[in-house]
């Protein structure tokens, strides 16, 4: 056991400026490199397999003023795009060696080019995830794409990345994901031992450390949280959907919970919950990663899997968790989330599931309005 309060340690780490986290890790690991990954999901096993730190670069939170990036992006672009660029423009990524973006939305795609142009020192790459999940060559395509990224990461690391090393990384992250599922199980036990804000803090911290350290943190946290007495409370049980990329301030999540919601399941830091189960550690590891993406990953607004109705997993999540309602919490100007909201709304109304839509920005400091909206929603459920 390392610390008395691993959840507090996670909160502290998640609120530390990311530049300082990278600097601190590199000073403890002389010569080692750090590669950033942008939300929502990234095959960070490849970075880890090369002995480099895969670090989540997901905006600047509510600690940072946007003074430069506003002049590069339009006003209707979401905050995380601007604040991620701001991190670079203000020198907070100077210790970063590489950055990987993904095909999640147009602004993220454009951010890749902006990074390449503004930070030529960085190795910047972009993963084109499978768009046609039903194609017979989908898995082969994605494995090849991962192979291309492996080559780039190997060049950066100055060493070969072997299949064995990737399989070993997959196994390590499988253990991480298993602990994350156990955390999720605690949220569903009805005893209110663990809040959504605490879970988010733990996952945010996990994005800033090697998986071996994250495992230790999770084991400590699971031990502490399981020993909490907990008790049933008169709250409205909800599923929260829509915060898969830009992350709301932890205080905002707390406000939603304080307003009378017990958040049974959410999609904060979805990257660590991307897969429904373990990824195979047998055979071609790139093929295993690709197979898991195509056939073993959860629903997200940034995936366009036409093999199922987009809102179906949300309705299923409500049924599975026993939630009474859905809170759709989306970042302002998040196109994937807001496009999907129309589909969610239709499906939720078809299934008589109450829901409310609220929008946030990562740089929020005052939460009164959202709290009032959530309280009203809770009242409309309780007074009904």
């Amino acid at each position: 056991m390392r610390v008395a309060d691993p959840v507090q340690e996670a909160k502290d780490l998640s609120e530390t400026p990311v530049g300082r986290v990278i600097e601190s890790w590199k000073s403890a690991h002389p010569g080692a490199k750090a590669v950033g990954w942008f939300p929502v999901f990234s095959p960070i096993e490849l970075t880890h397999a090369a002995g480099m730190l895969p670090i989540s670069i997901a905006g600047g939170g509510n600690q940072m003023e946007i003074a430069h990036a506003d002049s590069r992006f339009q006003s209707f672009v979401c905050s995380i795009i601007k604040s991620t660029l701001e991190l670079g423009l203000t020198g907070q990524l100077e210790n970063l060696d590489g950055m990987i973006f993904h095909s999640i939305c147009d602004p993220a795609k454009n951010l890749t080019s902006v990074f390449k142009r503004n930070f030529p020192r960085l190795m910047v790459d972009f993963i084109h995830f499978t768009q046609n999940f039903a194609s017979p060559v989908a898995e082969e395509y994605l494995a090849a794409e991962y192979g291309r990224v492996r080559t780039r990461l190997a060049e950066l690391a100055g060493t070969e990345i072997t299949d064995g090393q990737i399989r070993s990384s997959i196994a390590t992250y499988n253990r991480v994901r298993e602990r994350v599922r156990r955390l999720q199980g605690i949220r569903l036990n009805g005893r209110n031992q663990l809040s959504a804000a605490e879970t988010a803090a733990l996952l945010r911290a996990g994005g800033r450390m090697m998986p071996e350290d994250f495992l230790t943190l999770l084991d400590d946290a699971l031990r502490v949280i399981s020993s909490r007495p907990g008790k049933a409370r008169d709250l409205v049980h909800v599923v929260l959907e829509g915060s898969f990329c830009e992350q709301p301030p932890l205080e905002l999540i707390q406000s939603i919970e304080e307003a009378g919601c017990s958040i049974l399941e959410d999609d904060f830091e979805l990257g660590f919950r991307w897969f429904k189960g373990d990824i195979s550690t047998e055979g071609d590891p790139l093929r295993a990663l690709a197979h898991a993406y195509i056939d073993g990953s959860v629903h997200s607004a940034v995936k366009h899997d036409l093999r199922y109705r987009k809102a179906a997993p949300l309705v299923e999540k409500v049924r599975r968790t026993g939630a009474q309602a859905v809170v759709v919490l989306t970042a302002k100007f998040c196109e994937p989330a807001l496009f999907d909201y129309a589909l969610y709304r239709e499906a939720l109304e078809e299934n008589n599931i109450p829901h409310v839509l609220v929008e946030f920005e990562e740089k929020m400091w005052a939460f009164d309005k959202i709290r009032s909206e959530i309280e009203t929603f809770v009242e409309s459920m309780m007074f009904d």
Binding site: D368, K369, S372, E375, T376, E379, S380, F383, D384
Partner: protein
């Protein structure tokens, strides 16, 4: 006889209503909120008790509402202003299915059920367009009191069109129109029309189902009532007590709570 109170701490004014268990309003009070929210709540409560000839121990339950509801420290329960406006509006006008509430710093659309329950709602965000603050800025630019805006705007013959509903930049529009020699009443009618359009666009997000009841301080502006009615193509329910609807709703919630406590 049970007596309950609702205290609505708004951004501009703080309101209180006392009702008895026949749901009759026994007294009401309105004061400016100012910078000390807790004190404003205390003062308005003392004032409404004094007006009603009652003392604190006569009141079975107090519900605090409005943005300062958690500062109603003597309150028994806090309920959001949206739930309270819905309750109060349906009490005053039982046919109400949509509430448009325009207060000092926010605007809301609320779709309500038969018993005053909230079915859906929407609030303005980070923008004072559609609020009393916008009208206040506009009237100050024209050197008028806020209360004069409504009547004066009804005299308009050729309302202007504003190019912005920004509370700050509207001043530039108004100054430009004054420089062009436009009449004050035409400018005011343009202000009301722009805000009405903006507010209706907001409320359409929850659906506008008649009857529509207009509440909040801005509902005292007859020019705004007419502008909304014209754009909606339907009459609005507006009570002389429209400013008190939130506090009234809070008092009604308090009464339900008090009666439930007595029964149990």
């Amino acid at each position: 006889m049970l007596i309950t109170a609702g205290v609505d701490v708004g951004s501009t004014q703080t309101k209180a209503v006392l009702i008895d268990d026949s749901r009759a309003i026994r007294a009401s009070a309105i004061i400016d909120t100012g910078g000390h929210i807790s004190k404003a709540a205390e003062r308005v409560f003392d004032e409404v008790l004094s007006t009603g000839g009652l003392c604190r121990k006569d009141v079975s339950c107090v519900v605090g509402t409005g943005y300062g509801r958690f500062k109603v420290q003597f309150g028994d329960i806090q309920i959001t202003e949206i739930s309270c406006h819905a309750k109060g509006a349906v009490f005053l006008f039982p046919g109400t299915r949509t509430v448009i509430d325009m207060g000092g710093q926010d605007a809301k659309g609320i779709r309500v059920g038969l018993n005053g329950e909230v079915d859906d709602f929407v609030m303005n965000d980070k923008c004072a367009a559609g609020t009393g603050r916008f009208l206040s800025n506009a009237s100050e630019t024209l050197n008028l009191t806020l209360d004069a805006v409504g009547e004066l705007s009804l005299r308009a013959e050729r309302p202007v069109r504003l190019s912005t509903v920004c509370s700050v930049f509207v001043e530039s529009d108004i100054m430009a129109y004054l420089a062009q020699g436009k009449k004050v009443e035409d400018i005011l009618a343009g202000v009301n029309s722009a805000i009405a359009a903006r507010t209706i666009a907001l409320v359409r997000r929850v659906g506008i189902v008649p009857e529509v009841t207009f509440t909040g301080g801005v509902s005292r502006n007859i020019g705004m009532i007419r502008a909304l009615e014209t754009k909606l193509g339907m009459p609005l329910n507006v009570s002389p007590q429209s400013q008190l609807v939130g506090a009234l709703g809070a008092a009604l919630w308090a009464m339900e709570h008090a009666e439930s406590a007595v029964r149990s």
